[in-house]
Amino acid sequence: MKADPKGVLTGSHTLTGNHACAEGAFAAGCRFLGLYPIVPSLEISERFLERAPEVGATFIQMEDEVSVLAAVLGASWTGKKSMTVTSGPGLSLMMEHLGLGIMLETPCVIVDIQRAGPALGMPGRPAQGDMMQARWGSHGDYEIIALSPSSPQEMFDYTIKAFNLSERYRIPVALMSDAYVAHLQEKVVIPPAEEIEIEPRRYYKGAKDKYLPFKRDKDFVPRMVNIGDGYKFHVTGLTHDDRGYPVMNEECQEYNVHPLVWKVRNYVDEIIEVQEAETEDAEVIIISYGATSRAALKAMEQARKSGIKVGSLKLVTVWPFPEKRVAELAKKVKAFVVPEMNFGQVVLEVERCSYGNANVIFVPHGENGVENTDDLLSAIKQAVQADKVESVIIEFNKGV
Amino acid sequence: MKFWRKPLDLDKIKIPCGEIHIFKDRCKGCAFCVEYCPKDVLEMSEEFNIKGYHPPYVKNPDDCLECHLCEMLCPEFAIFVTLKENEESANVTAEKGRK
């Protein structure tokens, strides 16, 4: 299905990441925004609201982030692609409804512009400290899809990708950006509407009284209907059967909850997307995502010039994590260098998936600038000199 | 009741008579219907339903005026009243049912 031209601002622009994200939402067909203002994501809402009348989108600023995601889930069930934008503190308040979105299998997009935490932290400073929260934040077993853009162009592209994934798998999708990329101003090329592929919602077409809100197709994704179409369906956050009625027994828990996980796990190959560069002959591979990928690619080139064979693995989809690919690469390389603007989160996954076949050097990134590559280069030298494989994440030391 | 004035059109109006339907197994024995039936038509029975509650039974069916109060005051949707169709109450003035 092609994008609705009304929402596509075709042409080449110079946009901040935030504004590109709002344009991406319109292009993806998003017509409802639930918002609560928070630095550093409020520019997305401001842009969305300015353009909403023109595009025919509706919005509401709610009283807190808890109600924002509840409103977004409600709006999504009326058939409108819905989104909310927030940052760390807001995401913490949205955890309960992230769980409800998973259980009701409601497509929506949650944009998290990460900032330095914990608590109030430094609102303006970029960080990547919410990655594990997005994956494990809500209670109970579930899978989540999270993308991480590293440039305003990718903020535009990945917002569309996020909506498509959320409609395809009928699941909330998180767009994990950060304050740096959000406020960066770069060239953003918006293609004509007919070149933008949009995933339509998978609707139920059968008899009105035969609709089962959770009857799963072969790929575990059930079909949806809109409120007001006369299906008189019932959905609940409790463990439920196909009819959406609450059923409190173990058998139904397995019958209902496990497919929420299989729906993503059995299709990781389709969902996961990574960007690899020069990993064929690489001795050391930098695994990065989001803003740190900018420094990673520069560090790779500089290291290559000075004769060290370095490759780069950029994670477009951080969750689900590309376990297979990382395990394969672990057998071929001496070490992974993992820069993160936090104190070590996704690096734990890298360590887990390398199964002891390669060293994993964690580089806390961003103290002296997101684009700065000094720490990365010294980490690469440290990686090359190491002779045996440690069984623990190596702390990067500035001395080398 | 003794000193009430006799209504002038007493002969023209036929008092409706309702037929009470009880889903015995839905009843949870709260006795709202027995308490608030204006004509004391219902009474709690001694028999048990499948859940072990005592459902009501119709003690004197002829007194039922089809007022639907028992139907409205039943939290279990276990009782409802339909108009009893017989000859002499055919030209009843109260409109049929609660619609």
Binding site: F32, T58, I60, M62, E63, D64, V66, S67, A70, A71, L73, G74, A75, S76, W77, T78, K80, S82, E96, H97, L104, L212, I227, G228, K232, F233, H234, V235, T236, G237, D241, R243, Y245, V247, N249, C252, E254, H258, V261, W262, N266 | H21, F23, D25, R26, K28, G29, C30, A31, F32, Y36, E71, M72, L73, C74, P75, E76, F77, F80, R98
Partner: protein, 296 residues
């Protein structure tokens, strides 16, 4: 791990005998009866009143959505045959706001309990009233958190007992009509489950009202509130309502506090006109664009 094809769980329902069709059959999910509420609980009566009000106000059942939160009354959405949502604790009003703003053709009804709407959901209650979102909120007030076993709630009368106020509740309760009125609701009424006909009329009126309308339904809780406080069962509570409810339409919502076993003032207190949220939204839209999208 693959999903095993297990049969849908059949809930043992009590079919009505041939020819015996309860007048509520088309509005309730009869395949789920008998419902879970305890003997002599008033929530069933609130549902009966709501179903009758739907017919009385001849609302198109396809264009109405009912949202419930968590708690005994939270299960109402599961028993009413409409587009129904059983959402998180305290957030049905927020969920309903999303539905209403996204599709102004849908009449949203939020049917939940006192704990759900006024305790955890208080913030959304007052904001939805301030915005005058087009929504009917039915708040079934049984003075206690009953689903979780009888804990004290912000509506538990002073000095009443509950499992978490074993020596008597020390906090004065909320006056729900007063909150609704002062926050901006356009229709505020309070009835008990005993006043079933007046409740039906009030709900029918509220369903046709444009804007944020609140109907508080005082309901007996035979299993917890009356038992823990030694007030008998639900029937005794109904008898208490019979003798202690005073109907004063238009009473100032300031004086509607409820003490422990004191007089309960019922009636319709507020019935005024205020532009609803979507009216203002569309007015703003037509000013901005010179063309209103659709009424709401």
């Amino acid at each position: 791990m693959k999903a095993k094809e297990t049969k849908t769980q059949e809930i043992q329902s009590v079919p009505s005998k041939k020819g015996e069709i309860h007048p509520m059959e088309n509005l309730l999910r009869m395949d789920r009866m008998p419902h879970i509420w305890c003997p002599s609980c008033g929530i069933g009566l609130a549902v009966t009143a709501f179903a009758s009000a739907l017919e009385k106000a001849n609302i198109d059942p396809n264009k109405i959505s009912i949202v419930s939160g968590i708690g005994c009354t939270g299960r109402v959405a599961g028993y009413v045959k409409l587009d129904s949502f059983h959402t998180t604790h305290g957030r049905p009003i927020a969920f309903g706001t999303g539905i209403r703003v996204a599709n102004p053709k849908i009449k949203v009804v939020v049917f939940s309990g006192d704990g759900d709407l006024i305790a955890i959901g208080g913030n959304h209650f007052i904001h939805a009233a301030r915005r005058n979102i087009d929504m009917l909120v039915v708040c079934v007030n049984n003075f206690i958190y009953a689903m979780t076993g009888g804990q004290v709630a912000p509506t538990t009368p002073l000095a009443a007992y509950a499992t978490t106020s074993p020596y008597g509740c020390v906090e004065p309760p909320f006056n729900i009509p007063y909150i609704a009125d002062s926050s901006g609701a356009v229709y505020v009424a309070r009835w008990t489950t005993l006043h079933i006909r007046r409740l039906i009329n009030s709900l029918a009126e509220a369903l046709q009202k444009k804007g944020f309308s609140v109907v508080e339904v005082i309901s007996p809780c035979g299993m917890y509130y009356s038992r823990i406080n030694k007030l008998g069962d639900g029937l005794d509570m109904m008898k208490f309502y019979h003798d202690n409810v005073e109907i004063r339409h238009g009473e100032d919502t300031k004086n509607l506090d409820i003490g422990f076993q004191t007089k309960i003032i019922c009636g319709k207190f507020v019935d005024r006109e205020r532009p609803s949220y979507m009216e203002r939204y569309n007015q703003w839209l037509s000013d901005v664009k010179g063309g209103s999208r659709d009424e709401g």
